[in-house]
């Protein structure tokens, strides 16, 4: 019996995924453990190693299409086996795109002799083993740039001024069909955004410059959400809805860190320790001193995490990921530096493994490189606080009645008010400031 390969859960938070690229084609022989696809999850693009062996009988999921976890993406089996039989036995449609569109009939298992969706003729497909029979074609919608849609749906979308990409397709392979466009058109006409667009469109004609020439107007562009974007949106919304944030900012003088950093970088051949590395180490030490900050609020009670794993927010193409420096409190500055560099690079390459992006107990988000003085961040659900770090800049400060120039960095601790009150946070920030302004204590 052929095996239906399902979209695997490759990260703990993954709920849907995209086949970024198939590494096998129909007819290929697959060994257990062989990479068969690259799957884009909410966190990264990951290689998917097959759990099964066999001949690829069918690739169901088109590249670029969002699929729900567990959706059938391919069928493996023996040469000549009918992939449809395995799919029919499994029940459900041949494809299960993640589109939330209602598809009442789809789930109902159809007759065992279900006509293969891709067969050129509504007759049972010829046995793939027959030499003259062409190999089952890959879904024509496999091109990731191409949105599968019926010609009619394309025309209707054009006429209604709707972006195909924004319309969930309920047809085979997520194909956008007439019904989907009409539903989207109806929804759009009821939504405020559409109303605004309509007003814009209506007003556009009357908008002219001083010479009476109409301003050029350009259509709105809608971009399909990536899984990462969706995850960020969902989690940030959840955080802001659930967590009452409290934000406190403290200036920290980094002159001594700067000096120590220079000395270290001179002595450590080839390794460049960053301010952020110091910050991570200091945060980790401070978290040991204030264990409640290394925790989270749950309805059952407060959790203080035993280990200190510091997440480091890294901006990547299309969003951000948070690789984790595990056991940061026990690591040397050199180790931390090597870890962050490696994690950061692989975050940008989207080659992080899921376990490297999960389990953080506290997060540091640094926008100093963009010259941001101070900002507030949103607490990651599952954590109690996040440290938003601004740029280090030379500032004039008054010390003992004298104006002196100091390297000042502003850190904002954004935290879950259900866990802490302002004074708790202030104490954590004070410890952090103390550690960084006397950095040798970090190595005590």
């Amino acid at each position: 019996m052929a095996t239906v390969v399902e979209l695997p859960r490759l990260t703990d938070t993954m709920e849907e995924g995209v086949i970024a690229k198939w590494r096998v084609a129909v007819g290929d022989k697959v060994k257990r453990g062989q990479v068969i696809a690259e799957i884009e999850t909410d966190k990264a693009t990951m290689e998917f190693e097959s759990f099964d062996a066999g001949i690829v009988l069918k690739l169901i999921a088109p590249e670029g299409e969002t699929m729900q976890l567990g959706a059938p993406i391919a069928v493996l089996g023996k040469a000549g086996e009918d992939p449809e039989a395995a799919l029919a036995k499994r029940g459900g449609g041949a494809s299960a795109p993640a589109a939330p569109a209602p598809a009442p009939a789809k789930a109902a298992a159809s007759a065992p002799s279900a006509v293969p969706a891709l067969a050129p003729v509504a007759a049972p497909a010829p046995a793939p083993a027959a030499p003259s029979a062409p190999a089952a074609p890959a879904p024509s919608e496999a091109n990731s740039d191409r949105i599968p849609a019926s010609p009619l749906a394309r025309r209707l979308a054009r006429e209604h001024g709707l972006e195909l990409a924004s319309i969930p397709g309920s047809g085979p392979h997520g194909r956008v069909i007439k019904a989907d466009v009409l539903a989207a058109a109806q929804a759009a006409s009821a939504s405020p955004a559409a109303a605004k667009a309509a007003v814009q469109a209506a007003g556009a004609a009357s908008e002219v410059d001083e010479n009476g020439r109409p301003y050029a107007t350009f259509p709105n562009r809608q971009v399909k959400l990536t899984p990462m974007r969706k995850t960020i949106a969902r989690r940030m919304t959840e955080s802001k809805r659930e967590i009452p944030h409290i934000n406190l900012t403290i200036p920290i003088h980094m002159d001594r860190v700067s000096k120590l950093r220079n000395e270290l970088n001179e002595s450590l051949n080839g390794i460049k320790i960053s301010f952020n590395d110091f910050l991570i180490l200091a945060v980790a030490k401070a978290l040991r001193i204030h264990p409640r900050v290394n925790g989270a609020y749950t309805p059952e009670g407060l959790v203080e995490y035993g280990d200190v794993h510091v997440g480091v927010a890294v901006a990547v193409d299309g969003g951000l990921v948070v690789p984790v420096v595990r056991h940061a409190d026990q690591k040397t500055i050199k180790r931390i530096s090597l870890d962050t560099r490696d994690l950061g690079k692989r975050a940008k390459d989207k080659t992080l493994r899921p376990e490297e992006m999960s389990g953080s107990t506290f997060t540091v988000s640094n926008l100093g490189m963009f010259g941001i003085e101070a900002f507030t961040a949103v607490v990651n659900p599952g954590e109690g606080a996040i440290l938003a770090v601004g740029a280090i800049s030379d500032e004039v400060v008054v010390e003992a009645g004298q104006m002196v120039i100091r390297k000042v960095m502003r850190c904002t601790l954004c935290s879950d008010h259900r866990l802490f009150d302002g004074a708790d946070n202030a104490r954590f920030l004070a410890t952090l400031k103390k550690l960084l302004e006397a950095p040798m204590t970090l190595f005590a």
């Binding site: 006509v115 050129p120 007759a123 019926s150 749906a153």
Partner: protein, 326 residues
């Protein structure tokens, strides 16, 4: 209106045209003394005699060619093939002579002839006797190709075919000769090249002809029970094709299934789909599907034959699929 069998509608058409026009004659195997292998010429020999109802030996190339030669001289031959499978041995006559002479002679000659007989699979006749010939003939410029499914259409179109100045391939069905249908007593003609809607609906267009028509109608009935209303278009003439009738329906339903007796590869079904995508592309909401023979020689065994043939159930599956009701 009286109900008569298709075979009698065909006979009546030939009888009326032979009565009307002395130039019309019938030639073929067993058409005279035997009264026709399928009794389509029953009684004609008695009425018209050996001059006009001519038994031919088994020589399809010979009597097809004689028909063509006679037609060039102004006669109006009806050439009966006992089955269209036997027309294969006369293919060169139809392809190179009947279809080309008007063109090749710059219009000096025409070939007003009808080649008629049963087409496509009957029941358990094996691969050489179960073939559908419309793709072969509809492929050829210069020929008219007609396929009928009701007594009314058979009579009206055969009379038009006999009067037509062009060579006409007129496809009947062995399985349907005894199917009865209403035929008016007064004379009527049905124009060549005009499709007929056999059942109206707005959800899915089902395009069919000949022996496919009853299958398509049954499939449409099954679909209606599921709430899918089919527009069943009987093309009746395959060349020239009533493209506008197909397009009008597809523009309304946005989806189509072509159901026919015959192989899928390079056939009339493919031609119809090509025209739909070419001329109604922006009206399509689903790929157009074919329900037809499987791409295999027809097996004799009953169970295998049944698997190869288009059935109402397979028609229904395709209808559901294009309607996204799976």
């Amino acid at each position: 209106m009286p109900e008569i069998q298709i075979r009698h509608a065909i006979r009546d058409a030939m009888r009326e045209e032979m009565e009307r026009d002395d130039r019309v004659f019938l030639v073929g195997e067993e058409v005279g003394y035997y009264n026709g292998a399928y009794k389509c010429s029953e009684g004609l020999l008695d009425l018209f005699g050996e001059r006009r109802v001519i038994d031919a030996p088994i020589a399809e190339t010979g009597f097809a060619g004689v028909g063509i030669g006679a037609a060039m001289c102004g006669l109006r031959p009806i050439v009966e093939f006992m089955t269209f499978n036997f027309s294969a041995v006369a293919f060169d006559q139809i392809l190179n002579n009947a279809a080309k002479i008007h063109h090749m002679t710059n219009g000096q000659f025409s070939v007003p002839i009808v080649f008629r007989g049963p087409n496509a699979a009957a029941h358990m006749l094996g691969s050489t006797h179960s073939q559908a010939f419309e793709p072969f003939y509809a492929h050829v410029p210069g020929l008219i190709v007609i396929a009928v499914a009701t007594a009314y259409d058979a009579k009206g179109l055969l009379k038009s075919a006999i009067r037509d100045p062009n060579p006409v391939v007129f496809l009947e069905s062995e399985l349907m000769y005894s199917v009865k249908g209403e035929v008016p007593e007064e004379e009527y003609l049905i124009p060549i090249g005009v499709a007929d809607t056999k059942r109206a609906g707005d959800d899915v267009t089902v395009i069919t002809w000949g022996q496919g028509v009853p299958v398509a109608l049954k499939a449409a009935e099954l679909a209606a029970a599921e709430g899918i209303e089919c527009d069943v278009i009987d093309l009746r003439t395959l060349r020239p094709l009533d493209t506008e009738a197909v397009l009008e329906s597809v523009r309304r339903t946005n989806r189509a299934v072509v159901l026919f007796h015959g192989w899928p590869y390079g056939g009339v079904g493919g031609e119809i789909i090509a025209r739909i995508q070419e001329m109604a592309f922006d009206h399509l909401d689903a790929p157009v599907l074919r329900v037809c023979y499987e791409d295999v020689p027809m097996p004799y065994a009953e169970n295998l034959e049944h698997l190869v043939l288009p059935t109402p159930e397979r028609g229904l599956e395709a209808i559901r699929e294009v309607a996204y009701r799976r």
